[in-house]
């Protein structure tokens, strides 16, 4: 039986939504050098469950964040009738499954195997429609959290107060406060105040959903402290204001430095990735070569009129570093590039160590990140000596030995510091 496909119905029978090029999908990871092809094969992928009442926006979130669907198109999504499992295994760090639940079905019913559903789950995202009456949603949230906690106490609970795009700022804050208050009161009433709920205001029409999802995903990355540390060292030594390590496909940032994230700079960086990918897709792809839009040569520099520079560099096949810095600091681009190379090498070491550990010891993930700190300096110190001399030709900085050795001591990677005087202006 086949219907005629009229114009209005192009999305109904077979979903092929989005302008997302096929070859830029989540393929098998064949990283350059780090080689963790299938590092997680022995390890169970963490699961992120998307739950909530019907029409709260679960499927829309999943489609917009992971399938590049345009937010307007989500109006035409059908209601989800079964659990949709989506494998996100694009980068070697971000490997997880998204399970999109139908809101109509109570999965705590004894006919469902709740151990199977909640047992191996890393995070539970509960979506509440902020534009609607949310009493029922709060009841369901309480029910879901308490039951899931019984099955799996290590589960992380995230509450997305969703569809806040139509709300005024005051109302947003008021709603968040109210939901926060009531949800925690409910938990305290049933004696479960040890459960921690994180709240996020989200909307698919801006970048808040990506930002919130980034936070969810980051909690599932055991190496997060190491990555954050590396980014801190990088920005302090290169006079960068803010740096994000992005998962290119989903535009989720898997790590950033310790300075607070403001939404605007995050949006800016997201948009930059879009620009790079779009331009690269349009002009960079040759039909005969199977080149991807994003490869090891990808880099981009955007100068804004307010004296800010956006700088993008490829880190691995799926990760990009996006930095925001003042134009004046960029005078020493060579130093920044050099520091970036060091940073990239360190990241690759994290990958390597991780895959090694998984193969050899299958040890706990916490041990991975601490082991990097110990093994790092030996491997990188030789390289730094050689390139010190190289740098002195191009960038006649007075690189005081003190400064260099200090950074050596602090970190596992050797970064070349941009002079303080050059930054302050």
């Amino acid at each position: 039986m086949s219907y005629e496909q009229d114009e209005e119905d192009q999305y109904a029978p077979n979903f092929s939504v989005g302008s997302f090029p096929k070859e830029f999908g989540y393929g098998a990871f064949d990283g350059d050098g780090e080689g963790p092809s299938g590092p997680l094969s022995g390890e169970q992928k963490p699961r992120i469950l998307l739950m909530g009442l019907r029409r709260s926006g679960k499927s829309s979130i999943q489609k917009v964040v992971f399938h590049k669907m345009s937010p307007n198109e989500t109006l035409f999504l059908e209601s989800t009738n079964k659990i949709i499992k989506d494998d996100i295994s694009n980068s070697s760090f971000v490997q997880f499954q998204i399970w999109d639940f139908p809101g109509q079905i109570d999965f705590f019913d004894p006919t469902f195997d709740s151990d199977m559903i909640f047992g191996g789950c890393g995070a539970l995202v509960f979506v509440i429609d902020a534009q609607d009456e949310y009493n029922d949603a709060l009841n369901r949230l309480h029910q879901t959290v308490t039951k899931a906690y019984k099955v799996n106490p290590s589960i992380r609970f995230e509450v997305f107060i969703h569809k806040v795009d139509g709300l005024s700022d005051d109302y947003k804050m008021e709603t968040q406060r109210d939901i926060h208050q009531r949800a925690n009161d409910d938990l305290a009433d049933s004696g479960l105040d040890q459960i921690h709920l994180s709240f996020h205001l989200t909307s698919i029409y801006d970048h808040s959903i990506f930002e919130a999802f980034s936070k969810v995903v980051q909690k599932l990355i055991p190496q997060l402290p190491t990555l954050e540390n590396l980014l801190n060292i990088l920005i302090s030594n290169s006079a960068i204001e803010k740096a994000f390590l992005f998962d290119v496909v989903s535009k989720i940032y898997i790590a950033t430095d310790f300075s607070p994230v403001d939404m605007q700079s995050y949006e800016l960086c997201c948009d930059m990735i879009d620009v790079v990918i779009d331009v690269s897709c349009i002009y960079g792809l040759h039909e005969d070569t199977g080149a991807a839009a994003f490869d090891s040569q990808s880099s981009s520099l955007i100068k804004l009129t307010n004296g800010t520079i956006l700088y993008l560099r490829e880190v691995t096949k799926f990760l990009a570093l996006v930095c925001i810095l003042r134009e004046a600091s960029f005078d020493r681009q060579g130093v920044i590039d050099y520091n970036f190379l060091c940073f990239r090498e360190a990241i690759q070491q994290v990958f390597e160590l991780r895959s090694k550990n998984q193969v050899a010891y299958n040890s706990s993930s916490q041990a991975n990140s601490s082991a990097v700190g110990e093994s790092g300096p030996n491997t990188s110190s030789g390289a730094s000596g050689a390139s010190n001399g190289l740098l002195s030709n191009t960038a006649p900085l007075d690189n005081s030995p003190n400064n260099t050795s200090e950074s050596l001591k602090q970190s596992n990677t050797v970064l070349y510091p941009v002079q303080d005087s050059a930054v302050a202006m």
Partner: protein, 510 residues
């Protein structure tokens, strides 16, 4: 067909839900009521349905309160359609199948037919199997512009369901196509009136009507009555489509010559052929010799009587000779006694193995017959292991044939078995079981005949299986270990081989 056919849908508010379930109800007692309003099922099945959804929803309550009934007077079956089956156990099964069909099972296409069952093994009787056809019905007001429906067929008999798959698939697809066609018409008309896509893009997303009944979607108010009729047709015709017959392998070996058959089912005979003989002496087409048997006179009427007359060991010997295909010659007077002995013994063998001459004046060779009755004065060869001879001797005090004819009772004669052969140490299963059964005091004559019929059938089946394997072996050499395993499975031991060889040779290689 013992199955429940249901229409399920995925409600925007309540999730998967059952809309209409049709099940057959058969009469327990044979009523002769022929009125057009006769209902054959139990009366509780048409009581008002208990099930009411807590927040009423138009889409979920399409038939609640209504019950459709169709009665088939020919088979005395009523088909009842209500929202959920009236038995609570069946209701639970249908609900679970509904959830699985719409929210759990994944078919390769979006819509499509599939079978799932509780994983309890193929032969299991407690699990139920479900054939489900999920499909989409277009709805201009629904999210995604369509709604999910499914038609499920739930039955306890998995093999039946799998066998009916092509029939069910073909017909359910027809129903679905018809529903979708009418829904498409409604959808297109609505789209012309109010193009939903444009309305939604303009931001006024309030038109969503979360529950519309199927009757509204297809534009036919009587859609559930229509579905009821379809489902009844499906259930009624599914049962006439598939009948149990013998497996095709048996077609190679005709039964007719072996046993009496009726409609391909074997008639296990427990009849005493001695009586048969008395009433239709000449109608027996297997006796070419025109024997005249008086209706009165001494006769052996049962095996147990024969056993008493001969003694247990002699009886066992003669049965053994009979089973493995050696010739039995009964010599003596009067003819009626001799023939009755042979006819009594004949019940032990399947028809095809019997080549019987009740009474003859001269000896016939074993190639002509394996059971022979001859006159006392006829010459017979010396007894050998291949020929067992039973002499029927009149009492010593009556020498003349006239005085012999005076004797009325069989026990007045003496019986003498002349057979130089030896019974094997391990008796064939047939013989051992027969001996045990006859040894027991408790079995009545009629029960014994049934036991003999069963033993005969058992041995014959083993012989048939063996014969089939043997004939196939010639065509393509199969592993001898397979054959050993087969014999083990059939419960055939070494001592049975001779019996089986004779049986399969004489009655199967016709």
């Amino acid at each position: 067909m013992n199955a429940v056919v249901s229409l399920c849908h995925f409600c925007e508010l309540h999730g998967p839900n059952v809309l209409l379930s049709t099940q057959p109800c058969r009469s327990q007692k044979h009523t002769t009521l022929k009125s057009s309003h006769a209902f054959y099922g139990p009366p509780e099945s048409i009581e008002a349905p208990r099930y009411v959804l807590s927040p009423p929803c138009e889409a979920c309550q399409a038939v609640s309160g209504n019950t459709f009934i169709t009665s088939d007077h020919e088979t005395q079956t009523s088909y009842v359609s209500s929202q959920v089956p009236w038995q609570s156990e069946t209701e639970g099964l249908v609900r679970q199948a509904c959830t699985r069909s719409l929210s759990c099972e994944v078919s390769p296409g979006k819509e499509g037919i599939l079978v799932f069952s509780d994983d309890l093994g193929l032969g299991s009787s407690c699990g139920c199997s479900v054939l489900s056809h999920t499909f989409l019905i277009r709805d201009s007001l629904a999210r995604g512009f369509h709604r999910w429906f499914s038609i499920i067929v739930l039955t306890k008999d998995r093999l039946l369901l799998l066998n009916l798959w092509p029939f069910l698939e073909k017909n359910i697809s027809t129903f679905v196509a018809e529903l979708q066609m009418s829904a498409n018409k409604v959808y297109e008309a609505e789209q012309v009136e109010r193009p939903q896509r444009a309305i939604r893009l303009n931001g006024a997303y309030c038109a969503d009507k979360s529950s519309r009944p199927l009757s509204e979607l297809t534009g036919s108010p009587k859609v559930f009555a229509q579905l009821h009729l379809w489902f009844v047709w499906l259930l009624r015709n599914a049962s006439t489509r598939l009948r149990e017959t013998l497996p095709s392998v048996d077609l190679a070996i005709p039964f007719g010559s072996l046993e009496e058959c009726e409609d391909k089912f074997i008639f296990v005979s427990a009849r005493k052929d001695a009586n048969y003989l008395k009433t239709h002496p000449s109608a027996d087409n297997e006796s070419s010799v025109n024997c005249v048997v008086e209706s009165t006179g001494p006769s052996v009427s049962s095996l147990s009587m024969l056993r008493t007359l001969l003694g247990a060991v002699n009886f066992a010997s003669i049965v053994f000779c009979l089973l493995v295909g050696r010739q039995i010659v009964v010599r003596g007077q009067p003819a009626s006694l001799v023939a009755s002995i042979l006819f009594t013994l004949k019940t032990l063998l399947p028809q095809g193995c019997v080549r019987l001459i009740p009474f003859s004046s001269q000896y016939r060779s074993p190639t002509e017959c394996n059971m022979l009755g001859i006159d006392a004065r006829a010459a017979v060869p010396q007894p050998s292991p291949q020929v067992a001879r039973l002499e029927v001797l009149p009492p010593l005090d009556c020498e003349t044939p006239e005085s012999v004819n005076q004797l009325k009772e069989a026990h007045q004669f003496t019986f003498h078995l002349k057979w130089p052969g030896q019974l094997p140490i391990k008796w064939p299963t047939f013989l051992a079981k027969l001996d045990r059964a006859m040894h027991s005091e408790q079995l009545s004559n009629a029960t014994l005949m049934l036991q003999i019929g069963a033993l005969r059938m058992e041995t014959l089946n083993a012989a048939r299986a063996l014969h089939y394997v043997d004939t196939n072996e010639k065509k393509d050499s199969c592993d001898p270990r397979d054959k050993t395993a087969l014999l083990q499975a059939l419960g055939v031991n070494l001592s049975d081989r001779e019996v089986l060889t004779f049986w399969s040779k004489s009655c199967l290689s016709i």
